[in-house]
Amino acid sequence: MEFAFTGDQLAFRDAVRDLLAKECPPSVVRAAWTNADGRSGDGRSGGGAWLALGAMGVLGALVPESANGLGLTELDVVLLAEETGRAALPEPFVEHVFVGAPLVFADHPGVVTGELTVTAGDPLIPWAGSADVLVRLDPDPAVALGRGAKLDLLTSVDGSRRLARLIDATDARPLTRAELSLAFWRGNLGYSAQLLGLARQMLDLTVAYTVDRKQFGAPIGSFQAIKHQLANVRIGIEFAAPLVYRAAHSLAVGDSGAAVHVSMAKAQAAGVATNAARTALQCHGAIGYSYEYDLHLWMKRAWALASTWGDAAWHRERVARAILDVTNETGEQK
């Protein structure tokens, strides 16, 4: 029994964290809101961060080595997703790395390096307009080409998430039930990890602000009302993270409870991130409510990811079904 990441896994995370610190500061996230494609650069190939991740091999992390991927498992990349959440990376990271690339690398080898971008949605597809390959989980699960696809564009509260419904697909191929299921649970694992990273970042940002900000002659962080709200966020993070990591492990080893474990992770991480957002805003006060301050970039990403691919209530109900209704839930199916 050992509940810890390996030195390699932690080193990989640190490398990605450093990369994002350099390539994806808040200014890049903010810029993405007004970019043509809502991404960290402004070409179809994504920006500096995306290219660098591609160069590092991260974009093909779950693709078999036989196809020039890194042949890694969910457990090796879950911390990377957490870091992209912490940085609010405006790229289809989960959609590409966790969901799309492992599904389409055979027909579209370019996704392994990031030369091609694949994204996915259920049903709303983020960054669909700038992607080369689209994966639609619902309705009619299918893989389609970005070029020539008929999209119904929609606006997300997160200005970088350019959403679309795929209405009419070119050269679409249907997904098998197994592909659909794996894609759905891997995606939810990725979102859970990103929500965790978002929560950590919002907490750090708020701690720093409340240590600094003085009112009534003292740092507001010295008031119990602030302390206890932030302590609760920290507690929430402490007891959400292990569920996320366990879910990654379960998918990696093919545990029969994997789907339920992912639902537990998503329910918990969504709750923690939305609570972190609410608390961060309240502890900041008016400045946190300003568009010019960065907090809202994280808050809105958190709102979006918390409700996409099943919100907390939906995943909690999945767990309820597993423990209350079904007697031997294999969790293998969506």
Partner: protein, 380 residues
């Protein structure tokens, strides 16, 4: 206890409803927190004013109808139910006007109230400063007497001023006695924003609309007749408005009842069976809370009408309505599921609702007030 409306009140309601049915724009106006939207909202305010619905509770001579608090409640209920435009003039009408009625000279009342009611002049509140948010006593902006110029020189900066970029006037607190501490030595000024030396810079709120502004003062000269309620008396004069800001006037139950009705409609439309059981319970709870808020208001208005004004209790109200507003919208977004992140009236409403627990005294401050002034717990 009598929970029925009198014939004349029912008549009043019918009149309001009919007028709104005939006049509320079929399409919602663009956000009043944008330059273009603000202008369109002012046209609507003018329309309200011409039909004498802008300030129903004001005396007739100032453009009102001398409506009772009860009639005012009815008006608000109908106004929100009809989905009529937000009141971009509300900070003047609800925060400044009561102060002018109470402390203004007859000249000030004649000069400012009618133009405020008609929307011809629009007012923003200049209280918060970069270092004076929750702690208003930290105000540093100054007003220095300039005898030669026969007035006061304003210097300093205000910020988080709602719709400051679109308004014509600002009412605010400035330090006139630099030697005085905390709440003393402040004076309440009425400031035309076109005064030389005043610069306004609008900036975005959570939803991206330019609903906030910073206002900079550099030796801006304001004449003596722009002092409201006496030099160095600013704090006690201002408290009258926080009273109304926190209390009844801004938060009529109609607003939350209407939101609750829309929430229920949304839930029915999503299909009552399709709803997660826990969310279903929260819809019911939010609906119950909206009714609780209305009933508590009826209780308060009964007391106020009997001549017993609300004191620190208004802090109870502020915490409750602001958290109710958040949970009404949160619940609606949960009903929307994956579509919650899409641009919608619910998301916009949620972003707005999130300001409730912050402005007009954060809910943390309100809870201190409740603990100390309502429950009598020790300050230290």
């Amino acid at each position: 206890m009598d929970l029925t409306w009198s014939p004349s009140e029912q008549q009043f309601r019918a009149e309001v409803r009919a007028w709104l049915a005939a006049n509320v724009p079929p399409e919602p106006l663009p956000s009043g927190d944008t330059k273009a939207g603000f202008a369109l909202h002012l046209e609507w305010e003018r329309k309200l004013f011409d039909a004498r619905w802008a300030v129903v509770s004001w005396p007739e001579e100032s453009g009102g109808r001398g409506a009772s608090l009860w009639e005012w409640l009815i008006f608000e209920e109908e106004y929100y139910r009809a989905g009529a435009p937000q009141r971009v003039t509300q900070n003047g009408i609800f925060l400044l006007a009561p102060t002018i009625f109470e402390f203004g000279t007859p000249a000030q009342q004649d000069r400012y109230l009618p133009t405020m009611a008609s929307g011809e002049e629009s007012w923003c509140q200049g209280w918060s400063e970069p270092d004076a948010g929750s702690d208003l006593a930290g105000i540093r902006s100054t007003a220095t007497r300039d005898p030669s110029a026969g007035g006061w020189r304003l210097n300093g900066q205000k910020t988080w001023t709602t719709r400051g970029a679109f308004c014509t006037h600002l009412f605010g607190l400035f330090r006139t006695d630099p030697s005085a501490e905390r709440h003393r030595g402040l004076t309440y000024f009425l400031v035309p924003l076109d005064t030389p030396g005043v610069t306004v810079r609008g900036f975005g709120r959570l939803d991206g609309d330019e609903g906030f502004a910073e206002v900079f003062f550099e030796d801006a000269l304001v004449t003596d007749d722009l002092v409201l309620g006496g030099v160095d008396q600013g704090w006690s004069v201002a408290m009258a408005t926080t009273g109304s800001e926190r209390g009844l006037t801004l938060r009529s139950p109609g607003r939350f009842l209407a939101t609750a009705e829309r929430l229920v409609a949304l839930a029915r439309e999503r299909g009552a069976d399709a709803i997660d059981g826990s969310v279903r319970g929260r819809v019911a709870q939010a609906y119950i809370d909206a009714e609780a808020y209305q009933l508590q208001t009826l209780q308060t208005v009964t007391r106020v009408t009997a001549g017993d004004p609300p004191g620190a209790e208004s802090s109870l109200t502020k915490v409750f309505w602001s958290e109710l507003d958040v949970s009404l919208h949160e619940t609606a977004l949960d009903l929307l599921g994956a579509e919650a992140e899409l641009e919608s009236a619910w998301m916009k409403g949620y972003e707005f609702a999130l300001s409730g627990p912050i402005y007009a005294g954060t809910n943390e401050i309100q809870r201190n007030v409740i603990a100390e002034r309502v429950l009598g717990l020790p300050r230290k």
